[in-house]
Amino acid sequence: MNRRPLLALILLLPMLVRQASASALEAQQRLHGAVDEVLAVADRVADRRALADKLRPVLQRHVSFETMTRRAIGPGWRQFTSDQQRKATQLFTTLVIRTYSNKFTPGERPVITYKTAVAHAAGRVDVPTTLVYKGSHYSVTYRMEQEGGWRIADVVIEGVSMIANYRSQLDAQFKKAGAPAVISSLEQSVARPQ
């Protein structure tokens, strides 16, 4: 009967696969560049507090903080006013940058091995890596998404997704008392002394 679409698919498949692997490669290269940039900054700056400030512009270029915030908050996001969305994004960005900067110990350099990237869906590539830091092995997977260029949308360390982790907390806040509760809980976390 109608076999034409199937035939077309079979003929196109190698091309699609090639395209998928091409995007996987592109995403991986972008990540590689981003990580190298971050490490170069971390090497130069010894003070942790200063590191967060120095890393901010670098991370803002490579990390999709808007997407991260929206997903960390979850379905409640749609009920935020645009002002609340802006405020939440700003706070969550600061929190993520600080969390990330705090992971560096001055003078210690991580050794990163990139494994084969996997294109999960159109516009999404997961890059698994192994990280050796201070003598310990960690598995770290970067989730890259196409948003006018490849950008980091999540970091999964030893199976723990940063976004899923925040969603479990922020969704609970939203269910308790809506958008204001989410924003004030983020404000508290950002204000907490390190």
């Binding site: 999404r124 092995h137 723990v160 982790n165 907390q169 969704d171 809980s185």
Partner: protein, 257 residues
């Protein structure tokens, strides 16, 4: 958190068995609830889900959690700091490697029980390489061999998961921290498989000194365990939920490996 302490475990094992037999009947209910996502994503590529824990004891768990938090802060952290101060990093690393190497039967038996015989074979190779070329496990030579560098460690909790046993309710154990009924039972199984606990089965004078390797094992694990805990806790909006989510995600990933 799983620094094993025998007295505590002896108390916990019967309790855990009771809980497991109870949850075996309610298991189907919790597992369907856990597998059904309650929310839809915020965009087309959003595949995150918030339903991950069965936590009927949340009130009690939160109380134990804050008790543990105080204990870590005021008792365990000072001990851990003391250990870090008197023992240089390379020495601590060597000690960790030795204990990790001795724990070989835990990984070997559980790999076998899960039908992962290739992985069990790799564990044997690792044990051989590290014991002989690594001076009794002091140096982890297997890290230099690509095929042996990243062998996922199996434990009894993962074995039970492979056999189709669900987590059961989340429980925060006193001192030991986040766990589930399944993992608590697993902890007991791994306790029996770990040679450092075998001293108690001996008849001779060795029995008198059987606590020493256990105590040493507890001490040497403190810095890393506390670091893991701090990582899950710091910058959290709700530390209890952050640790619970990290615990479930991490153990799910370990089972899938």
């Amino acid at each position: 958190m799983r620094p094993a302490h025998h007295h505590l475990l002896r108390l916990l094992i019967p309790a855990a068995v009771v809980l497991l037999s109870q949850c075996a009947t309610t298991k189907t209910k919790t597992s369907t609830a856990a597998s059904k996502p309650s929310v839809v994503g915020t965009d087309a590529r959003d595949d995150y889900d918030v339903v991950e824990a069965s936590d009927p004891l949340e009130g009690l768990n939160r109380a134990t959690f804050s008790l543990n938090d105080g204990l870590y802060k005021f008792v365990l952290r000072p001990i851990s700091k003391g250990y870090e101060t008197i023992t240089p990093e390379p020495v601590r690393h060597g000690i960790d490697n030795v204990f990790d190497n001795i724990k070989f039967p835990v990984r070997f038996v559980n790999s076998g029980l899960q039908g992962k015989f290739g992985r069990a074979g790799k564990e044997v190779q690792k044990f051989g390489v590290n014991t002989i070329a690594g001076f009794g496990g002091l140096i982890k030579q297997s890290d230099r061999i690509p095929s042996l560098a990243d062998v996922p460690a199996e434990d009894a909790g993962q074995t039970l998961a492979t056999w189709g046993i669900g987590h059961g309710p989340y429980i925060v154990l006193p001192v030991l921290g986040p766990s589930s009924v399944r993992e608590t039972v697993g902890l007991a199984g791994d306790y029996a498989l770990n040679p450092i606990n075998w001293g108690f089965a001996m008849k001779s004078d060795a029995r008198k000194y059987a606590w020493i390797p256990q105590a040493a094992n507890t001490f040497r694990q403190l810095p890393e365990q506390l670091k893991k805990y701090d990582d899950a806790r710091s910058d959290a909006v709700d530390p209890y939920l952050a640790v619970r989510s990290a615990y479930y995600q991490n153990s799910k990933a370990a089972v899938e490996q």
